[in-house]
């Protein structure tokens, strides 16, 4: 993939008008410019790595999502109890409450919320297979995942 294609993907905000000029792409506080009829999709990002949670949130915000970062599962669950997000993007391996348990708790309040897990290590398989055994299936993305691919997946 070349740089052009990469930028093309960036230029197209999901749910937005592809013909809208991307003048203020990536700039904080200007996401409302990408307002669609149904409003921007609300995404909850959960990762104990602050850098990842923050940078992802910024990227997503820059692409017209209403993204919010949380650094542990507990805070994310509390937030979701008040407001169900459209999508949850969560790291799997986190201290205290892992990503799978976090999204399972969120789903109790928000059965409609789409869940995307991403993980960089082997422990993931075990946690996921336990969840699958209980009948929960999640989309799993490898870490590191390139923002282009993440945005593409979110747009699907």
């Amino acid at each position: 993939m070349g740089t052009t294609a990469l930028l093309d993907a960036v230029m197209v905000p999901p749910g937005g008008d592809p013909k809208t000029p991307p003048a203020t792409v990536g700039v904080k506080g200007q996401s409302r410019q990408f307002e669609a009829k149904s409003g921007p999709k609300h995404i909850v990002v959960v990762d104990d790595e602050v850098q990842i949670a923050d940078s992802l949130t910024e990227i997503l915000t820059g692409h017209g999502y209403e993204a919010r970062a949380f650094y542990n599962g507990r805070d994310a669950i509390n937030h979701c109890q008040e407001r169900c997000p459209d999508i949850v993007v969560a790291d799997v391996v986190m201290p205290k409450l892992n990503g799978v348990d976090t999204v399972l708790a969120i789903r109790e309040y928000c059965p409609e919320t789409r869940v995307l897990l991403f993980s960089g290590q082997a422990g993931t398989s075990d946690i996921l297979s336990r969840a699958r055994a209980k009948g929960h299936n999640f989309e799993l993305l490898p870490k590191p995942i390139h923002p282009d691919r993440l945005l593409k997946t979110l747009a699907e």
Partner: protein, 725 residues
């Protein structure tokens, strides 16, 4: 009596006292042996009586019994002694009393004898009325001395009488009872006595005979009897010697040798019996043999005695006996009847052999044999020529030869030909008395299979301590070796897995963050074209890092379900990733893939396998080389399961034999700086999880190259399970 009467009447006869006395010179010293007192008295009466009747004198020095018997004899024969006594012609003295007058310190004193006896003879001679005034003397002082054991004193007394006869005239008559000379060696003494006398009269057995012929017959008879006696003496001596020897043997025997009578009473007890049973002979002789029998075996004795009484012999009867201190000992008994000279059974002789130790040894040997037989290890013995002498069950199981097949054969049967040199070296060590411990080597089974064994070989010695063979314990360590290797591998895998997981987490998280930041930076609108180019390049390099991390450390498992994958498409996808590297190295990739080939598998993992193999092929290839990729449907050669076989061939440097062995080991790499040593290991792991496998052919000499073959079942076990669910 008749003889005496005729003698007294002076009737003639060969030994008629009258004639004897009449024909006797006035001088003489005769000796008379007798068995029966009455014979002595009869002869004596004739001697003395004839002298007195002839008017001569007589002196009798005798024991009281003999004096009284003589007088009684005279009285009954009608001889009145009173006139002779009154005339001083007859003197009667007590032998013991007379003797006491001249004995000094147990010997007859010459001068006293001369005084006492020497004074009597002349008086009697002067009183004699006969023509020749002769004196007849009877003495049995010598026989008294002899009876008291003073034989030398008796001979000496005879000599004093003889000396007295030199100066005085008298005829002395001596008498010895034959029973003074009971022993064979007394013959010499009889001869010495005879030497001191001028005339000898044998006992009545001879002298009572009437004719010369009778006497000659008697002599012949006596000679024969003497011969018999001499023989008996020799035999008796022999028998005595035999008895002594036997007694010595019995005493020195290590076995208890005991005799008992038919009531079971101990009659003899040798030294070994003392040692074995603890009783001294004096403690047990006269007591019952049942002292030795434990209470519960008391029934033994009547049965033994019954058999002995029936004349039976009991051989090697193994039983238990008790010692004085109550210990029980194992004994082997041999009991034989003892017969008297008439053949009647009078008791039993018993030989008891203490077999306690022997039993213990036997039991120990049996126990050892049982241990050897039940051992899981092969326990084998061989002689110093390497010929098998014993072979246990363990050996049969481990080596496959039955004992009867291999005993007597060379041990080299179980040694692989290439290791035949081992045997002389082992034998040399054994001969030197050395032991070989835990020698790990290879042996061959009857069916030709090789197996790993751990050998311990020890010298076997005879009673003199000479090495006569070897005992060998062989443990089959084939499985142990495999287990060790497996354990070793799994330990390494586990540690690798932990390491990889940690590293993956540590790397993947910052990679994610950096990727995001570069992405954000690239979105900045006011970037110069140059900075944008840098960021784009950095982003691409990060993608490479991410890819490598996933290939080798990722452990990222496809969460998705197995999908029906079109093999040619998957291969194209992977090849596209390496496009740039093909170009760098100017590699020509030839693809020969059935376009319709599909497999049910996890897409990510399948691609990782291909990716790893293709990356290796690229690294191995020389610049301008060729890589050939083939894929076709194929059945697994062992199970016949349908699947896909993919081969990736390069014409690169090839892999050396040593490296091949380690190729699938984690952290083994031939790529020095760039390799992680995990690619092939992960590939193999992934394939085996899918029920597939990987094969490799390679040569590192020209024409060098490597062909990797991968078999993948159409449906992995996981896929089959998924579908079933």
């Amino acid at each position: 009596m008749t003889t005496f009467a005729t003698a007294l009447l002076g009737e003639a006869g060969p030994f008629a006292p009258s004639s004897y006395w009449n024909s006797s010179s006035s001088q003489g010293h005769s000796v008379h042996f007798y068995e029966d007192d009455s014979f002595l008295i009869e002869g004596l009466s004739r001697f003395i009586g004839a002298a007195l009747i002839a008017g001569d004198s007589a002196v009798v020095i005798a024991t009281r019994e003999h004096r009284e018997a003589l007088e009684e004899h005279f009285r009954r024969g009608g001889l009145n002694l009173a006139p002779a006594i009154s005339q001083g012609r007859y003197l009667c003295l007590d032998a013991a009393e007379t003797l006491s007058h001249f004995m000094v310190d147990g010997q007859p004193d010459a001068s006293r004898f001369a005084n006492v006896v020497g004074s009597v003879i002349p008086r009697l001679a002067s009183a004699a009325q006969g023509r020749n005034r002769r004196v007849a003397a009877f003495g049995e002082m010598v026989s008294l001395l002899w009876a008291d054991g003073h034989s030398e004193a008796a001979i000496r007394l005879e000599q004093l009488w003889n000396r007295l006869a030199e100066t005085q005239s008298f005829h002395l008559h001596c008498a010895y009872p034959l029973n003074l000379f009971p022993r064979p060696e007394d013959g010499t003494q009889v001869q010495r006595i005879c030497v001191e006398h001028s005339e000898v009269f044998p006992t009545e057995r001879y002298t009572s005979l009437e004719t010369d012929q009778e006497r000659l017959r008697a002599i012949a008879f006596l000679e024969q009897k003497a011969q018999v006696l001499e023989n008996e003496i020799v035999e008796k001596k022999q028998a005595e010697q035999d008895a002594f020897r036997l007694a010595a043997i019995v005493e020195s025997s290590d076995n208890a040798i005991i005799s008992k009578d038919l009531n079971g009473i101990v009659t003899s007890w040798n030294r070994a019996a003392e040692r074995i049973f603890g009783y001294k002979a004096e403690e047990i002789v006269g007591k019952s043999i049942t002292l030795l029998i434990p209470p519960e075996l008391q029934d033994d004795e009547p049965r033994i005695l019954a058999r002995i009484q029936a004349g039976e012999r009991i051989d090697h009867f193994q039983t238990v006996r008790m010692t004085k201190d109550g210990r029980r000992i194992d004994v082997s008994l041999t009991i034989s009847p003892v017969k008297d000279h008439n053949g009647h059974i009078i008791g039993a002789a018993k030989i008891a052999h203490d077999i306690t130790l022997q039993k213990k040894i036997e039991e120990a040997a049996l126990r050892l044999a049982a241990i050897v037989e039940s051992s899981d290890d092969a326990i084998v013995s061989k002689d110093l020529n390497g010929v098998v002498t014993s072979w246990n069950k363990g050996a049969e199981r481990i080596f496959g030869y039955k004992a009867e097949e291999i005993v007597g054969q060379s041990i080299t049967l179980i040694i692989p030909p290439e290791l035949h040199d081992d045997e002389p070296r082992i034998l040399a060590k054994i001969r030197a008395g050395e032991r070989i411990e835990h020698f790990e080597t290879v042996r061959v089974r009857k069916n030709g299979e090789y197996l790993n064994v751990s050998l311990t070989v020890s010298p076997v010695r005879d009673e003199q301590g000479r090495v006569v063979g070897a005992a060998k314990i062989a443990r089959d360590v084939t499985q142990q070796k495999k287990n060790e290797a497996a354990l070793h591998t799994s330990e390494r895998l586990a540690s690798v897995g932990r390491l990889a997981a940690t590293v993956a987490h540590e790397i993947n998280n910052p990679l994610e963050a950096v990727t995001n930041y570069i992405y954000l930076a690239n979105l900045q609108p006011d970037l110069s074209e140059k900075v944008r180019r840098y960021l784009t390049a950095a982003d691409q390099e990060l993608s490479r890092v991410a890819h490598i991390a996933q290939q080798t450390l990722g452990f990222y498992r496809d969460n998705s379900l197995p999908v029906k994958l079109v093999i040619s498409e998957a291969i194209d996808d992977v090849l596209r990733v390496y496009d740039r590297r093909f170009k760098y190295k100017d590699l020509h990739v030839q693809c020969d893939v059935e376009p319709t080939l599909t497999a049910w598998t996890l897409q990510g993992e399948f691609k990782q396998i291909l990716s790893n193999l293709i990356a290796n092929a690229i690294d191995a290839s020389k610049e301008g080389g060729k890589i050939v990729i083939r894929a076709r449907s194929s059945n697994e050669y062992r199970s016949g399961r349908p699947g896909v076989r993919i081969t990736i061939a390069d014409y690169g440097s090839g892999i050396s034999a040593e490296d091949k062995a380690q190729l699938f080991t984690p952290f083994f790499t031939t790529k020095k700086e760039v390799g992680t040593g995990l690619g092939l290991w992960i590939t193999k792991d992934l394939l085996e999880k899918k029920g597939g496998h990987i094969r490799l052919r390679s040569r590192d000499s020209k024409p060098s190259g490597t062909v990797i073959g991968v078999y993948l079942p159409l449906k992995s076990p996981a896929a089959i399970a998924e579908q079933a669910a």
